[in-house]
Amino acid sequence: MVKTEVLVKLAAPDPWSFTVLDALTRKFGFEDVIEVQRTKSWELTFDLASSDAAIALTRELLRTTTLLANPNRDVWTVRCGPGDLPESFWCSDTGEACAFVVRVTDSEDIVGSSAAQIMRSRLGMDSVRAVRFSTVWGLRISRAAADPRDLAARIAVAKTWRSGLLANPHFQDATVFGVDDYLARKGVP
């Protein structure tokens, strides 16, 4: 089995990210949050022998359909294994702030399983074994925060009113990574 990951962002500034930043800073009072970015992640598992073949098939899917991304609206990158990604996809660590990735996946991933079904039944991609869809949030948090990682973890999960936002734990799983860990695919099973 070989996995690829397609990361998709809006080509234009993302209003969802602005909404989240506004909510976290103005409503939740998390003023140490400096930047929010949102990326969609599609993890595709193929029954193929080589990563080159998996990447080629993933790129063909992106070229010929709008199932994962729409070229009129989105930009994307494909990876298969550890490695750097275009910096525009991430909040980065800086001197004043540290960056985290919060990956949110529905416990029952209906979006991903529907996409897999479409790939197999309508697009004839018999080698697709599974698709997992996640929303990957990038958070840049000021180092002035008492515990930036703890703040990222609080933001990740909505437990009580105005305590967290990105995932409802009753149907979603949220995992917090440092950016380097995510890029090293420690976050990708």
Binding site: T19, V20, A23, F28, A158, F171, Q172
Partner: protein, 275 residues
């Protein structure tokens, strides 16, 4: 004096005007308030409705961003005062995401309205469905004037309407405490089974859930879209369709009450029975 209801218009909702008309049709007065009105400027309403739509474009999660708005503090205070608060569809999602429903553990978010499942695909589903009034209808304001077992045809239109919880035993508690106000059912009132009678895979087929005091109700169906007989489809299997079809010759008859009006009548009766 008629009960006065405030309708909160979050950015992106789209059912506020028909909700106001539905409230007025049963003798209540309705005022639409923008979500960012200063709390001090909010009149002393007898109750509130959070209408359907797509607050904040469902960004992050349906209802999640609106649930953190300042106006929710006013609603929380009203809920604590025992005033009825009805969340319809997106309004229900806001109430769930704020923890007001089921409100069992002091501000904790105990439930979710997760994406529909059971359709064989992801996404939005819109149709007429049947719901049945649960036991002890006087338990909540939304069924206050209805009878246990009443079957109401009502429209739904949502992609995230599946009541669920990771809390073990929570739905046993909700069932035991009669907090599941409405359940999806077949036309004859029997258990819905699979899609489409069960439109979204909700735990216990829940279509509406109330808080412990019964004065805050999160309801996924749209009663404001079934308030008049003229809104009822001709071809559904229900006495309501028969009434609608019998009234076709008369405009006045079609303006008669539809199944959803009972929810708003219940709200009015609940307010008026309070000392």
């Amino acid at each position: 004096m008629n009960p006065r209801i405030g309708i909160i218009q979050f950015p992106g909702v789209n059912c506020e005007y028909e909700t106001a008309r539905a409230l007025e049709s049963v003798g209540m007065s309705a005022s639409i308030l923008r979500w960012n009105v200063a709390p001090a400027m909010i009149p002393d309403f007898d109750g509130f409705v959070l209408p359907g739509g797509f607050s904040y474009e469902d960004r992050v999660r349906a209802g999640a961003v609106a649930a953190s708005d300042d106006v929710m503090e006013t609603l929380m205070a009203a809920a604590a005062d025992g005033k009825p608060i009805l969340g319809i569809c997106n309004g229900a999602q806001v109430l769930i995401e704020s923890g007001l429903v089921p409100g069992l553990t002091g501000g904790r978010i105990d439930l979710a309205l997760a994406p529909n499942k059971g359709m064989g695909r992801d996404g939005y589903y819109s149709n007429w469905v049947y719901v049945k009034v649960g036991p002890d209808p006087g338990r909540s304001f939304a069924a206050y004037g209805l009878k246990e077992g009443d079957i109401l045809p009502v429209p739904i239109a949502h992609s995230q309407g599946r009541f669920t919880s990771a809390e073990s035993g929570l739905f046993d508690t909700l069932e035991a405490e009669s907090q599941i106000v409405l359940k999806y059912c077949k036309a004859d009132g029997s258990a819905p089974g699979a899609f489409p009678d069960d439109p979204n895979g909700s735990e216990r087929s829940a279509a509406a859930i109330c808080n412990a005091s019964g004065n805050v109700v999160a309801m996924m169906p749209h009663p404001e879209r079934s308030t008049w007989l003229r809104q009822v489809p001709a071809d559904i299997d229900s006495v309501w369709a028969a009434r609608r079809n019998a009234g076709l010759a008369s405009r006045a008859a079609l303006e008669g009450e539809g199944p959803g009006a009972g929810i708003f009548r219940s709200m009015r009766a609940y307010i008026e029975r309070k000392p």
